[in-house]
């Protein structure tokens, strides 16, 4: 019989988290949706990094992708359409201690939330921003999004989308203070995982576009890349996304790209003959807004009262 020592009750045991500690509910995404693979990758990262669930926050907007926080057993904030980024910035402004992720979609981020998108990139507050880019509005049933290819059918453009799509990577690479810009695909779990991991490890805002399949509305959008992986150009570099032999066997078409080279990054981003994946750009010296906004957050009550007294004194007569 083992006796109980009373001080054991007060002891905080070192905790070890398993995948189930991050899983909540059964995802309601369609079978075959790329979001399932992303969720698995994120939960794997949480476990690998041993995130305490209470110190981890997933913020999302509205859309299929934005259901994401409901499937994580962490803190979550399922907000408004397009507004995940300002909310996440508000959280980060005075909470340097939290692991912060933003989940957004192509409609959420590049359309209704585009104004915030540009500024959040510039603020460069430490968080991982995952753009689930399936190039269509899913939750509202198949409307054209800014990233829908020209000519593609949708319920709002039954004769095909009129104009060329917006390139999210080119946009982000045009914004001052961008510090981590990458693309990956949902159908290659090793590359997906390594990209998300590198994004988490970056000190600043990591923008990751995940090319994501929607089996329901756009089942054929990416089959050419899946059937012929040489149409994907994998960028590799010692400072980039770590590439394994397995990845190299699958993505035979690979090239070396130094992610510190912004001009080359822009050139790669604008390629249309192949789909470049990997790390386009990384700048560890970019300014971080939260380093300004968090100044003074630990001011004591005594110091606050003293400062207030002094301030009121300025108006005393």
């Amino acid at each position: 019989m083992i006796g109980l020592k009373c001080d054991w009750l007060l002891e905080e045991k070192p905790r070890h988290f398993v995948t189930e500690d991050y899983q909540a509910g059964v995802p309601r995404w369609c079978p075959g949706c790329g979001d399932h693979a992303i969720l698995t990758s994120i939960q794997k990262l949480c476990k690998a990094e041993q995130f305490a669930p209470e110190e981890t926050v997933f913020v999302s907007g509205i859309g299929c992708s934005s259901r994401f926080p409901h499937y994580m057993k962490t803190y979550g904030f399922h907000s408004l359409h397009g507004r995940a980024l300002p909310i996440a910035c508000g959280i980060r402004s005075r909470r340097p201690d939290l692991n912060l992720f933003v989940v957004t979609g192509d409609g959420d981020c590049t359309s209704i939330g585009a104004g915030h998108w540009m500024h959040a990139i510039r603020y460069n507050m430490k968080m991982v921003v995952l753009l689930f880019d399936n190039q269509i509005y899913g939750l509202t049933k198949m409307q054209t999004s800014p990233t829908t290819p020209a000519g593609a059918y949708s319920n709002t453009h039954p004769n095909g989308a009129w104009i060329e799509p917006l390139n999210p990577i080119s946009v982000v690479l045009g914004i001052t203070n961008a510090s981590f810009v990458a693309t990956t695909v949902d159908w290659n779990p090793p590359h997906l995982y390594e990209t998300i991991k590198a994004a988490y490890q970056h000190d600043g805002l990591s923008f990751v576009r995940i090319v994501q399949r929607c089996p329901h509305f756009t089942p054929n959008y990416f089959t050419n890349y899946m059937d012929d992986p040489s149409k994907v150009l994998m960028m590799s570099h010692e400072d980039g996304i770590p590439t394994t032999d397995t990845m190299k066997r699958y993505f035979k078409n690979s090239t070396v790209h130094d992610p510190s080279d912004l001009n080359m990054a822009r050139e790669f981003a604008s390629k249309t003959d192949v789909m470049p994946i990997g790390l386009f750009y990384k700048n560890t010296n970019a300014q971080k807004y939260h380093e300004f906004s968090s100044v003074g957050m630990n001011t004591t009550n005594e110091a606050k009262l003293e400062a207030l007294e002094k301030e009121l004194g300025r108006f005393s007569i």
Partner: protein
């Protein structure tokens, strides 16, 4: 904040002194981001305030609904100016009351308070934060261009530590308490803050049950909506009836709110010195209203609000009971007290003068056949 006249002077001042008290001012990319940033900071346990004027309120409306729905404490200051649209950006008006009270998709009850003096502006901000935290909902502080640009001496406040926001709670959350553990009596519930162990929940703007799980069941939505509404009635129970300036009964009662206090009281004082039977009441709480109003109103032959917003001219034969649009506070008071309250309101772009109000008093008392 996002720059908007006449609210910017608030943030100019705060930007210059906030660093000394451990705060910071975020100039956001737009009005929506400004309130989103504040909601994010508040969700994460920090005290947050956003300051704007009427057009900014219009832009923030969806986010205000989110803060109500998800029960995020938040203080919103609206320095009212002339409207609608760009309106009279530098001029005074009290015309955002109904927009804030009702301007939301769905049912979105929130607390609204209105300081009448610069001294009240100081103290109401402390109350606003406490109310937001206690009732877990947005609190609106309605001021106007008149108060924002005015100067008025008042006794130097004796600072108290209890005025400061407490440190964020990072203690272990009781697993038996749900994230929206509504007290059926008061509608109030405690909230978990990220970092609190076992408090993990997903805040959502979707209809949700007490566990913060998305709930489309009709009963769950009815209950959650009722709980959010109930908080206002709970708050009203803690309020006192307003004090009456003048006699407790008589011919005419003037009701006002916000920056018109000085002008109304001066006009009432002059009229009373002339022997007119007139009193006034100035409301500080607009949502919920202070209690006991119906009883107060019934002791006067006529009640009339004086406000700086638009109402149809009650002396114009074009208007009758079926089509007349009343001033904003009058609209609320009529619906909640069933007293046939009149309104006299103007949108001149300048503060109402005591002489204008004195004339209204004389005209109304004459209609009543009152005595001087």
């Amino acid at each position: 904040m996002y720059p908007i006249t006449p609210a910017t002077s608030v943030t100019h001042y705060m930007a210059s002194v906030f660093k000394d008290v451990g705060g910071f001012v975020h100039q956001a990319e737009d009005e929506i981001a400004a309130i989103g940033f504040a909601i994010g900071a508040s969700y994460a346990g920090k005290t947050a305030l956003t300051v704007t004027s009427g057009p900014g309120i219009a832009l923030k409306t969806e986010m205000i609904g989110l803060a109500v729905m998800a029960e995020v404490p938040l203080v919103v200051v609206d320095v009212q100016r002339g409207g609608p649209s760009t309106g009279l950006p530098t001029k005074v008006e009290q015309a955002d009351l109904l927009a804030i009270l009702y301007g939301a998709a769905g049912d979105a009850p929130k607390i609204i308070i209105a300081p009448a003096t610069i001294e009240e502006c100081f103290h109401f901000m402390i109350s606003a934060r406490k109310l937001a935290e206690q009732y877990r909902c947005p609190v609106f502080v309605l001021t106007d261009a008149n108060l924002a640009t005015g100067v008025q001496p008042f006794p130097k406040p004796q600072l108290k530590e209890e005025w400061l926001s407490p440190p964020i709670d990072q203690s272990r959350w009781d697993t038996n308490v749900k994230p929206y553990d509504w007290d059926p009596e008061t509608g109030v519930s405690p909230r978990p803050i990220p970092g609190q162990k076992n408090g993990n929940y997903v805040l959502t703007g979707l209809a949700h049950n007490s566990s913060s799980k998305v709930a489309y069941e009709s009963e769950a939505n009815q209950n959650a909506t009722a709980m959010r509404s109930r908080k206002l009635a709970t708050l009203q129970k803690s309020l006192k009836p307003p004090s009456i300036n003048g006699d407790e009964s008589g011919d005419l009662l003037i009701v006002g709110w916000g920056s018109t206090l000085g002008a109304i009281e001066e006009a009432v004082e002059t009229a009373r010195a002339e022997g007119t039977s007139v009193s006034s009441v100035h409301l500080k709480f607009l949502s919920p209203l202070e209690p006991g109003l119906e009883e107060i109103f019934k002791k006067f032959k006529q009640v009339i609000t004086v406000e700086i917003n638009y109402s149809d001219d009650m002396n114009d034969p074009m208007y009758n009971r079926g089509n007349m649009r009343h001033a904003q506070l009058a609209t609320i008071l009529r619906s909640l007290t069933l007293v046939d309250i009149k309104s006299w309101s103007r949108v001149p772009g300048f503060p109402l003068q005591p002489e204008m109000i004195h004339q209204v008093i004389n005209d109304e008392v004459a209609k009543l056949g009152g005595t001087k």
